[in-house]
Each structure stands twice: as C-alpha cells, then as structure tokens.
Subunit: 259 residues, 2 copies
C-alpha cells in the first residue's frame, strides 16, 4: 500500500543485499531473505528493500552505495569465504573508499580453529577486513563478518548468518515494533476491495494488506492484515475492517457465523 | 565471480522485481525468485538482478525504470489483484508515461468467470491495463498479466505466475544456454581457494563458483561449479579443476579414491 508520512516518521529502516551468482542462476534457493525480514520486523526495524546481485564488483559496489545511503542500515549476505568469487569485503572497502588488508584480530580468530601451517593465502582472504571496520564474531564459524559504518557484512550460509544477526541485533537502534493483526474475511478479495480501500484511506497511520488464499475446501478466501505502531490505531482499523466484513457478508446473504 | 566480456557478449539478460509489503515484513515467504531464476537459466536468459520493494508508488516506478533500461527483460510479480494495495499496473503506466484504463479485452476475460452483476469496481481494477500493453492470458486465473515494452507484469500467487511464465516463454529471445557441471572436491574450500582462483583467471570464458557444504558425516566439503556457454571451454575448465583437486588431495596425503 502507499506509504504515508505518519508511518515513516522516526522509523528505523533497512535494506538487504544478497550477493551471489548461485542465487541468480537458481542453483541455490535463498533462505535468508524471509528469515531476515521476519527478524527485523520483530525488533522494530522496517525492511524496505532487498536486492540480489551477482559476484560482480561494480554491481556490488553500486548496490552497497545506493542502499547504505538510503536506509538506516544495510545488511549483506554472501561472498565472505576463501575463494576468488568471495569479493564482498573488497567491494565494501571500495564503496567506502578505504583500504583493505589482513586484520590481525580476524587472523587471530581464524588461528583459534586453523593450524598456522594451514592458514594459506586462500584462508587468509577470510581475514581481509576494510580499514575502520569492527568484526562480527559468531559462535558457529570463526571467520568473522564485519560492520563498516551502517553496513553489516554477514555470511551467506544460513546458520552462520543467523548467529551473526543475533550478535549484532542488541547493538541496533530499533523503532516501535510494527504491530499486526490478521482477520480472515470469509469473502473473496474482489468482494471487499473498494470498501477496504476506503478504510485504508480513513486510517492513514495503518497499513492494510489483502492476501487471497484458497481455504481447505479450495474456495477462494482472503486474509486482511492490519499493521500499525500504535495499538489504539490498530484496534480502531481492525474494528472497522470487521464491521465492514460483517456488512458485506450480510449483503451477500452469507450466514453470520463462519462456516 | 567477476563478469567478463566474453560471457556478456550477445547474452540475453533479465531482472526480476518482486512487489509486496508482505515479503518485506516476513509474513509471506517468497517462492517466486528461485523458481524464476531456475526457469530463466534453463532457457538461456541470464537473471542479473532481483529487487524486492514495498507497495509504494515511487519505489515501484523507480525500480521499473531502473531495471527495464538496464536489462533485456524485466519481470515483475505481485500487486495485480483487486484491492487498494494492488498498484503495479498503475505504476508501470506511470513508468512508461502512458494512460491506464479498464481494457475491454481484459474485462471480457473476467466476464468469462465472473457474473456481470459481480463485476464491481474492485474486480474491475484487475482489468486496468496500461495503454499499448498486450495481455498475458493464463490457464489458472482469468485475471490477466500484461507485457508493456520489455516489461512482463505477472501475478504474485506462484501457481498463476508459473502459468503466465509458461505463456510468455515462447515469445522471448533466448541466448545460448549456460551449461553447468558440478564437481565434488572432497576438500575444504580453504584448501583450494588459491588454485581455483588461478584456474578461473586462466579460463576467462568460464564462470567458476565454489560452494561449501557439510557432508553426511558433518565434515566440511566443497562443490565446485563450472559454467560456460561453450561445451569445449566447459570441458577444459572442468578437467583443470579435477586435475587440481587430485593434486591437492595427494599433497594432503588423502586417498586417491573417494571415501
């Protein structure tokens, strides 16, 4: 739905940049977008945009710069391993215009799990950290992510990414959590579209979404989702939706109790 | 990995724009990105970028204009239903600077399944089509998508989106299909990073990716994926990878036959 000013004001926003040829080729199915979306919603941060780009330097640098300037935070996943296609750290350094080299703190972390003789050039890539960044340590892998300005660089492997997100979450500025209520319409979307639009217009501090689904008897049905930061605004809009649904069901001669 | 000129030349490219608050809030987990990525790879179209944006007019218009100018094709999913938060058709009209109104062809399609008395203002939203667009008819739903220039506007419901993609696929210009081979390394990523980078550099017409995984005994392992349009280039790079893997395994004193 259309964003409106009262919802935007004071909100903490984020973008997610997923980096990896394997997602764009379809070889790997992304599992991080949905997880991060739900996680951020839960702590009062509005995920406003997601991009998926290839392991291509200019694509990654341009996306990092576009997104870090537009939102409170930018999270990235992927491209921080030991091989030639892991270019995220170098791209973030380039986006910020800073140098990048093996970081002694990151090297020490790797040595907790890797013998010094095995710490070859490839593995040392995982210790390359842009100048001025802080490490994101995690409990699953000793290869750290890092925070550079408002950008959080995380692994692509879901279990490691999730551990990193748990590490950084307590350090994030968060907004009032977006509250959400779902109302089952027992009507088709097309039965209520006009009425729902009128309620959305009358409640500018509330986001109202409409999601069709098939019920367990394969009949078209609709969930109406009402979201707001203010509990009173939410309750008022939800009541308006429920009253409208009852009116439309009655007008269509449907039973008052749900079948 | 870094894109290179020989891979780009003559290739057919695409972007995907996923439209919907419900994906960004985490309420709905997207199932279209992976499906479309795999589908396009299979017919020789390179998916180069994906964006997910909210149901917000300026966000959608800006993304449509950025992506349609940059790639051969742009596919969109979501936002073409009958409610106030379905704004994709209006946004595409705005992006192209054309008018939008109820399209008689789309209205006739809706009337095949909806009685005229039920064709209210909300349902008629689904017949709003930008001037100059062609309809994308599908076998699952009578509400059509449409093609406007190089932009294909499809439903967000996976079954309907998939039917629409089947409709448009035969009309698309396609490139040489990207061929792909996967080689199981039986080594950790960090064992082969440097050598793999050298092979990638020596085979500029080949994309080489490295994907760590845990084997069924929870030991770290790696899949090396080699991709190219030319079968001879692919075979040559794959042979180089296999020879390198055998060398590294021997140097580490690992058995020649896989355990």
């Amino acid at each position: 739905m259309m964003e409106n000013v009262s919802l935007q004001r004071g909100s903490v926003t984020a973008a997610l940049l997923v980096i990896g040829d394997e997602i764009l080729s379809g070889r790997t199915k992304d599992k991080n977008i949905g997880y991060i979306a739900e996680y951020l919603s839960g702590i009062g941060i509005d995920l406003k945009e997601v991009r998926v780009v290839a392991d291509d330097e200019s694509d990654v640098v341009n996306a990092v710069n576009a997104l870090r300037r537009r939102y409170t935070y930018l999270f990235t996943t992927g491209g921080i391993g030991p091989t030639h296609d892991d270019i995220t750290a170098d791209c973030v350094a380039k986006a910020f215009g800073v140098s990048i080299d093996v970081d002694p703190r990151a090297r020490a972390l790797l040595l907790q799990r890797i013998a010094e003789k095995d710490l070859n050039e490839a593995r040392l890539r995982m210790a390359r950290i842009p100048a001025g960044a802080n490490l994101i340590i995690n409990k699953v892998s000793n290869a750290p992510g890092f925070r550079m300005g408002n950008v959080f660089v995380m692994a692509g492997v879901p279990s490691i990414m999730q551990a990193m997100l748990d590490e950084v979450a307590p350090t994030l500025q968060t907004g009032a959590r977006m509250l959400s209520e779902s109302v089952r319409a027992d009507l088709r979307e097309g039965d209520i579209g006009t009425e729902l639009g009128a309620i959305a217009k009358a409640h500018p501090a509330v986001l109202i979404g409409s999601y069709p689904f098939m019920d367990d008897q394969a009949r078209p049905n609709t969930n109406v989702v009402v979201r707001a930061r203010d509990p009173a605004e939410l309750a008022s809009a939800k009541a308006a939706v429920e009253a409208m649904l009852a009116r439309v069901r009655a007008a269509l001669g449907m039973p008052v109790t749900r079948s």
